[in-house]
Amino acid sequence: MQFDSISAFFDMGGYAFFVWLSYGVSTLLLAALVFASHSNHKKVKKKIAQRLQREKKLRKAAEKQSAKAEQASPKNSVVENRSKNTNEVIS
């Protein structure tokens, strides 16, 4: 230990303001960088999850609709099936 007492340590030989300012700001900036990177990672994951949810919902709605159409006019079932398949391929 280079300092005789705790108060001498905090005083930094008279340069307390500059030394603690440097270390403080550096710590703050680095901590903010780490935090921002973590939260950004989570945000991107959440965004992708939301898009997957939306796709699922759309697909379900499309299936429901095609099922309804099939009930209404069974003659067109081949066409309906085909459109359903293409839907799946697209999604």
């Binding site: 990177s37 999850a49 997957l52």
Partner: protein, 248 residues
């Protein structure tokens, strides 16, 4: 010979590989940085001329050196991406830019806080300080270009060209203290042969340097994984990964 490297060009393999490294990197960072900071603040001797203000050295010099190293790494990645259209290189360049900007800002700020008690001024338009400020603006420009285009490949190209042009600034920063008369002192650590500092100042410097370098590696790894996910959001493996994590 290079075959073992080949699978890492695959985003999925890289994503999981970096994910496995992360816990180790964070542990090493914590150990090195704690040792470095405590040693630098409490146990390293005070400079015979500069007194305890010299302790700023242990933050200022590592960040200043690393601000240039990160830039060179980013420019090399940008070069690989531009020449060989290597997508992951682009992702890593995009991951490095914000980290470099923060490190450069720290180097500039701690330099100012050290300059005030030693030179009597926070800022002076001398060669070393000005060229380091230009480096900060280069980083900000690269970040801005990465975010300026919806299409990430186009953005990577634009940002890559800027980072390659900006490489001329690196030797200017490095040799500014020799080419021009400046207030800034010359190299302390990286002199050829024996470093011109005493050994009980050198070791805390090594620890704080490696600690900050590892912390930067940690952050770049996180950002790299984020970039991979964002650029491959439509791929089946990303869908499977997100679905599996959502179920947890």
């Amino acid at each position: 010979m290079w075959k073992w490297l080949h699978p890492y060009a695959n985003p999925e393999v890289s994503y999981h590989f970096v994910g496995k490294l992360l816990p180790w990197i964070s542990k090493i960072t914590f150990v090195l940085l704690s040792i470095g900071i405590v040693w630098a603040l409490a146990f390293a001797p005070a400079d015979y001329q500069q007194g305890d203000s010299f302790r700023i050295f242990y933050v200022h010099v590592p960040t200043a050196i690393l601000s240039m190293s990160i830039y060179i790494a980013m420019a090399s990645a940008a070069f690989c991406s531009l020449v060989w259209q290597f997508r992951l290189a682009d992702a890593s360049a995009a991951a490095m830019a914000p980290v470099g900007a923060v490190i450069t800002a720290i180097a500039l700020f701690t330099g100012a806080a050290w300059g005030k008690p030693m030179w009597g001024t926070w800022w002076i338009w001398d060669a070393r300080l000005t060229s380091e400020l230009v480096l900060l603006f280069l980083y900000l420009g690269v970040i801005a270009l990465h975010n300026a285009f919806e299409d990430k490949n186009l953005a990577g190209k634009a940002a890559g060209i800027l980072s390659l042009v900006g490489v001329v600034n690196i030797p200017i920063i490095k040799y500014s203290v020799e080419w021009w008369n400046t207030l800034h002192q010359g190299a302390t650590v990286s002199k050829m042969g024996a470093p011109s500092m005493s050994i009980d100042m050198f070791w805390p410097f090594v620890f704080s340097f490696l600690g900050i370098a590892m912390l930067i590696t940690y952050v770049i790894c996180i950002r790299f994984r984020t970039e991979i996910l964002a650029r491959n959001g439509m791929r089946p493996w990303v869908r499977a990964l997100i679905t599996a994590e959502g179920a947890k």
